[in-house]
């Protein structure tokens, strides 16, 4: 341990409690600000589709044109105003619990269907129809439990080192949707487009498409009840569709219990959930080269993970190694390490100007740059070479 670590540990132990006097003073202030706060409550119901559309200058002309066309073809019926986007998504933001069906489609994989239950703060119970498995997650506790009743096995993932302010919603579809809606409502570069009407299972619905870098979501709702009927969210190669949504259902806490039945065999794995760093990216290249016979990834797309898995399976088959539960778990661990490197790149901002050029470069080539990016606020680039040494390089000295 570095000497500084001891001092830092001591400093982190500092702990005071706010006094009852401070509690009273602040709570009094909150109570005494009713007029100001009440005024804002109207914003909860105020339609804001117009402001959402007009936030994005790119959509201004399109929005104007759409409204003129809608008026011409009688799209809006006078006396029956279209519910605003804010009204339709509101249950996603205010519900304490929900149940829904979810289908997941990933390119190149069979679709999967789940019956889901959500409970605040970030709990979820998913029943996989195809795999006869129940997945229960409680992200405040950093734990995901998968129960396979037919095999009486439980697979437990414990997420360690999760930063306090990290967005964990990626592991919980309801929270993920909630996050997207909040982003779309608060962000300057988000746009919400009205899609008009569509019949879903005989019901006339109206739709909105929400888009922002990283968000591609469509919501269809019943214009009478103003409740969402179907929502589709696309993240990378995966598309999730949720339907049969019921908000604020009475759900027993026991449904979200992380306790495992006594007669189950338990496999527990710890996953490092800390913020990924450049070292994780370097580690990705090292692991890749070690398991892919000295080659580096052909591209930096999600699809290479499938390529990696197929290669490993083929290698095992060629070597006459059987695919056992242990070997699958081992492979999953490797994938997780690779994922951390991918997550580091995913978190890089567009202005980081990152490039991958490792295709056809042999592991160990100290002269060829395979990846470079510019850290935020830096004048120079961080360049990773084929032998995985890293250097700071001025922009004019980057490879072509």
């Amino acid at each position: 341990m570095r000497p500084a670590d001891n001092i830092n540990q001591l400093i982190r132990k500092l702990k005071l409690k706010a006094s009852a006097d401070l509690d009273k003073r602040v709570h009094d202030k909150i109570t005494r600000a009713p007029a100001k706060l009440n005024r804002k409550e109207s914003a909860l119901t105020k339609p804001n589709i117009w402001s959402n559309i007009m936030k994005n200058p790119m959509t201004k002309l399109a929005a104007a044109a759409a409204i003129i066309i809608a008026a011409l073809i009688g799209f809006y019926t006078i006396g029956s105003p279209t519910p605003a986007f804010a009204e339709i998504v509101r249950p996603f933001l205010t519900a304490r619990t929900a149940t829904f069906k979810m289908s997941m489609n990933v390119e190149g994989a069979p679709p999967q269907n789940f019956d889901c239950m959500y409970a605040e703060p970030i709990r979820m119970r998913q029943i996989s129809k195809e795999q006869d498995a129940v997945v229960i997650s409680d992200l405040m506790k950093g734990t995901i439990v998968t129960l396979v009743p037919a095999q009486k096995r439980a697979y437990v993932i414990e997420m360690e080192n999760m930063p306090e302010d990290q967005d964990q919603s990626g592991f919980n579809m309801f929270a993920h949707i909630r996050n997207h809606i909040l982003d779309a409502q608060e962000s300057e570069d988000a746009s919400v487009e009205f899609l008009g009407e569509r019949k879903i299972n005989g019901l006339t619905t109206i739709g909105y498409h929400v888009s922002k870098p990283g968000i591609d979501m469509t919501i269809w709702a019943d214009p009478e009840t103003k409740l969402p009927v179907q929502l589709t969210n696309t993240t990378g190669p995966a598309t999730y569709t949720i339907s049969d949504i019921v908000f604020d259902v009475e759900l027993d806490d026991a449904l979200f219990s992380l306790e495992i039945p006594d007669d189950y065999i338990v496999h527990t794995r710890q996953v490092d959930a800390s913020e990924p760093t450049e070292d994780d990216l370097v580690n990705l290249f090292r692991i890749w080269a070690e398991h892919m016979d000295g080659n580096l990834p052909s591209t930096f797309e999600m699809s290479v993970i499938t390529e990696f898995m197929q290669y490993q399976r083929k290698k095992m088959k060629d070597q006459g190694i059987e695919l056992t539960e242990e070997s699958v778990l081992e492979l999953q661990d490797i994938i997780q390490e690779i994922n951390r490197g991918g997550m580091f790149v995913q978190a890089l901002l567009a202005e980081s100007d990152w490039h991958y050029a490792g295709k056809d470069v042999k592991f160990g080539d100290a002269d060829t740059a395979i990846f470079w990016y510019r850290p935020q606020g830096s004048a120079t680039y961080r360049v990773i070479y084929g032998d995985l040494h890293v250097a700071d390089v001025a922009p004019e000295n980057l490879p072509n």
Partner: protein
Amino acid sequence: MLEDKLLIWKFNRGSREALRGIYEKYKDDLVTLAAALLTDVNLAEDVVHDVFVSFIESARKFRLTGSLKGYLATCVANNARNKIKASQRRYSATLDELNPAAADSDSPEHRAIFGENLSRLSYALEQLPYEQREVLILHSYSGMKFKKIAAQQKVSINTVQGRYRYAMDKLRSMLNGDPLHSRRFALPNEAAGGNAGAGVRK
């Protein structure tokens, strides 16, 4: 993070419950931060109170761009710094020399701000110049990046890193009993602490 976004969303739409939720969630951390910066619990609570009063006034227009905890910590640090500057003007002292509680810094009550177990650290922190203490506490306690602290203090990142190194060196020397740094530290009655962990209010 998501919970905070939701709290802000509700707060911006007039939810007093959300505002109370934010206060309850972060009050202890913020009082601790302010007390570590100001080495005075009463002043620290005034700072946290003022920060929340300003926060209430920001309803409707508040936009969360980073973490809520980071935002509130920044507000506390700015407010604490203003308090220090105001004291500086009153006492015509230089910022580096200033210690709002210098008059009774040897008192056992003062050293017991964070409880007897941490009294050595608490006392050593008091001996640091304010800017160094601020960098150290914001970085080590609040987890703030040097770059953000530099922007907040309106100095270069090198200056911030330098202040952090100086603060660490001094603390290490004091805590390890270096006679040069610990002479004053060694004199007070270390064992006299009292009120462990409770926080002393003058």
